[in-house]
Subunit: 189 residues, 2 copies
């Protein structure tokens, strides 16, 4: 199995043969640090798997940027609403570091069902899983203090914690960089 096939395998319970067929539809590409994968207002025609590196998903407001999420090695990235409904993308997605991607174009993505009969069910499970992750995130934002959100995220995303600029981490957790800095100091003692 190639590396991409292994990753696909970790998400989808495909037969080896199916894995190969789907993997064939992806093309490897790279982004330099600072390059945009997508920009607000453009329609998203692709879905990618992050092989290495990090992408920051954010919105630019008049006075500041709001980071929605940071995707790292092993995540899929796309603007789902734009990909599915052909609406203008709502997010900017920018490489925080040099990033290697495997990318499938929408036209090919839409044909996976022809290659793999079980695809609709597989995709359904995948999107439903993403949905429940969002539910949990909302619950955390509603019910936790800044420090609790920090700790929770730290527990669940140790690996990226010291690789992401603090200001972006802070924004995606709904707090300021100063607050994170103080939480860290407090937890040293």
């Amino acid at each position: 199995m190639t590396e991409l096939e292994q990753y696909l395998h970790s998400y989808f319970a495909f037969e080896r043969e199916d894995l190969y067929k789907v993997a064939q539809l992806f093309r490897k590409s790279t982004l330099k640090k600072g390059d945009y994968y997508l920009q607000t207002g453009k329609i998203c025609n692709k879905l990618s798997f992050i092989q290495s590196g990090m992408l920051r998903i954010f919105v630019s407001q008049e006075d500041r940027e709001v980071t929605q999420w940071i995707s790292t090695k092993g995540y899929f990235v796309t603007d789902l609403a734009s990909l599915v409904f052909r609406t203008p993308g709502r997010w900017n997605m920018q490489a925080l570091t040099d990033t290697e991607l495997y990318t499938i174009e929408k036209a090919d993505y839409d044909r996976i069902g022809e290659l793999i009969p079980r695809w609709p069910e597989t995709e359904r499970l995948f999107i439903a899983h993403c949905f429940t992750i969002m539910e949990d995130r909302i619950f955390n934002l509603l019910s936790m203090t800044a420090e609790q959100r920090y700790n929770f995220f730290f527990e669940h995303n140790r690996e990226i914690f010291n690789q992401v600029p603090l200001q972006y981490l802070a924004s995606m957790l709904g707090m300021t960089p100063e607050t994170i800095s103080r939480i860290r100091r407090k937890q040293l003692s």
Copy 2:
């Protein structure tokens, strides 16, 4: 068309004949104020459409309850993660008022695809739509003040605003009832 068919029609672009077939799978039922539709820890085997009334979706913590959402007339309700993955439900769902539902059992739900060839695609669009609503909600929680969240929700859900106990509204917006009360007073002047 029956009322249920009209509602289904507003969500799904079905043929009239298909509407009828699907609508046949739903059974009308009612909940009295205070009755539970689901409870934390139980597996959810059904999906319902709210014909009238309101359900509150919440989690009980040691010291307080956190209201995740309030579903009203015209919403579908279920615990998606539990329905799809057969995991214990994470939410309580309780009727805030007497409530009329149209309910489909999981076994029937899973057979919709046999009745309607286009169902997988339709369901995919529906779940994707739900996903983007969650994305927006997270963005609002990350980027807005309490007052902005209140105003935003008010704009988008005028009809239920004066029917829901303040404490539940407050919780689902991530603030206290006192804060809502003060926002309201401020906005009178």
